[in-house]
Amino acid sequence: MTRSVVTEAPVTEPQSATSAGSPRLRWVLLAVGLVAALALPWFVYPPVAMDIVAMALFAIALDILLGYTGLLSFGHAAFWGSSAYVTSLIATHHGVPFPVAVVGGALFAMILALPAGYLSVRRSGIYFAMVTLAFAQMVYFIGYQWSGLTGGENGLQGVPRNFFGIELVETDSFYFYYAALPILLLGMWVAWRIVHSPFGRVLVSIRDNTQRARALGYEVEKYKVIAFVLSAGLTGLAGGVFAINHGFVALTELHWSTSGEVVLMTVLGGIGTLWGGILGAFLSVMLADYLASSGFDGIDLVTGSVFVLVVLLFRRGLWGTVRYQWLAWQQRRTSSRRTSAGADPAERGP
């Protein structure tokens, strides 16, 4: 790295990486989010609640690439699924407490992401999406073929929830939720730190104008690979917890439809907004759970339609729209005080 840091975002660019509004609002949001996370298993069936938080971290991890670096990875199931497998194998064969296994899975995902990222970042935009997809398909086939290790189409079953000898966690999903929640919240905090750090600012500048970032002396490819590996690591953290939560791993976790699912969550919530990923994950897991429990078996009909409608009519996503309106309102307010207002928060692509 030839250049060290980018200190502060220009004031006239409110909508990009920094989360909106006053620090006080940020703390309120954080407190509300924390309370919601702690209260969730009282209102939602605990395993489903766990899925929501795991998927939320998955969506946030993807958004580090999609929203903040401008790279649509369509192969994140490779990291999610491979961590799920590695976590389960460690937990099953070594009898370690599950947080250790989950960290092992996440590390494996990062190691896997290094060559994948190195290869993928050579192309951008739609090419990047296709290369990541192809790479993930390769991992899928390996998972499918190597059935001695992965159980092939049967998957891995009977993954234990060993938690430092505390039996309640191992048998009761309610207690497991609270044991696993810190791991996922820690992951979210790391994601938040990443996008709000000088490193994150460089990612945003790469997203907004790659040529300019390069001209400023940043080694764009290196930054992209690091973002890719970090994103994969957080994805792996989520995938590992997800696997332990279910007690089994299916081949589906490696399939491209899982990659699509998490992209949907991110887009539904609003790309470039970490809260959006949480909201998107909450809505899509709840929707899937509701449809499944009401005996409707064509979930993809709904998922696909939501996808089409969001992309056609609602590209900012739920959280993104709310934030956009809020920022526009704030900007109007400040511009009436100051002489000149900032630029119009233009609609932007991933």
Binding site: Q137, I299, V311, R315
Partner: protein, 290 residues
């Protein structure tokens, strides 16, 4: 030696089929800038349509090869007018996501209507059995697929190089800005070209009907192999799609013969190598970054 020849012939036969299927994807990308994720779903619809036409109207393969592409052309036009056109001016990623959503809907709809077990399809008697040429044994149907696919590829090539429409489409795929600057109304050709690409996907589906299981999921992994094909060939390039189609067919055939466990993976390894050596693909433009 004979075995090698055998695999080569099989690879070329499979490759011709990949080339035909990838052709539509490459043409749609070239003219519209849309990476059509739903290409696999359109291919599946073609196969299902062929099976349904045979079952309900008794239309044999020969008629299906004519009727299904026409139906799929109409379907493609509707999809383009209804959905795709709204996103054409935005980042191509949006169309990728749109067609992904469409894929989910189409696959699930077929699943709901026809179940998950495969539909039966019986090819005409003329095409059953095997032929032997110079020591190489090939199912008669595979030979037919090869000849038919090559014929269609040649036909499309003639269409592209010998007709006015083809020139316009080629200009639009290879130098879109220049084409516009020369006053060619590229926009007018967007809808029919999308329909044409969808029709080619459907045609590939009909061809696949007798030798692949006709299920709602049949297009899923196939689409991703086609992505690999067009990435290897160079996204905007039509010639590249055909050449890469044959390459992938050969890699698959030899892979299945000598390393069956890795046959599916080899295609993506090939893609990775191509990206390392020539990031834009074999026939891709160097500056092509969408």
């Amino acid at each position: 030696m004979n075995a090698v020849l055998q695999y080569a012939v099989q690879g070329l036969a499979a490759g011709s089929f990949y080339a035909l299927a990838a052709l539509g994807l490459a043409i749609i990308f070239g003219v519209l800038g849309v990476v059509n994720f739903a290409h696999g779903a359109f291919y599946m619809l073609g196969a299902v349509a062929a099976a349904v036409l045979l079952d309900t109207l008794g239309l044999t393969l020969w008629w299906a090869l004519l009727a299904v592409p026409l139906l799929m052309f109409g379907f493609g036009v509707v999809v383009e007018r209804l959905l795709v056109q709204w996103l054409l001016r935005l980042d191509p990623l949006y169309n990728f996501l749109l067609t992904f959503g469409l894929t989910l809907v189409l696959v699930e709809a077929v699943k709901q209507r026809y179940g998950v077990s495969g539909l039966p399809y019986k090819p005409p008697d003329v095409l059953s059995g095997r032929v032997e040429l110079a020591g190489v044994v090939l199912p008669r149907y595979q030979l037919f697929v090869f000849l038919f696919s090559v014929a269609i590829c040649v036909l499309v090539w003639l269409l592209m190089t010998r007709t006015r429409v083809g020139m316009i489409v080629r200009a639009a795929t290879e130098k879109p800005e220049l084409a516009r600057a020369l006053g060619i109304n590229v926009g007018r050709w967007v809808t029919p070209v999308f329909g044409f690409g969808v029709a080619l996907a459907g045609l590939a589906g009909v061809l696949a009907a007798p030798f692949r299981a006709i299920t709602a999921d049949m297009g899923n992994n196939f689409a991703i192999i086609l992505f690999a094909v067009v990435v290897i060939g160079g996204l905007g390039s039509i010639v590249g799609a055909v050449v890469a189609g044959f390459m992938v067919g050969l890699v698959e055939a030899f892979g299945q013969a000598y390393a069956p466990t890795f046959a599916q993976i080899l295609i993506f390894v090939l893609m990775a190598v191509i990206i390392l050596v020539r990031p834009a693909g074999l026939f891709g433009r160097k500056e092509a970054t969408a």
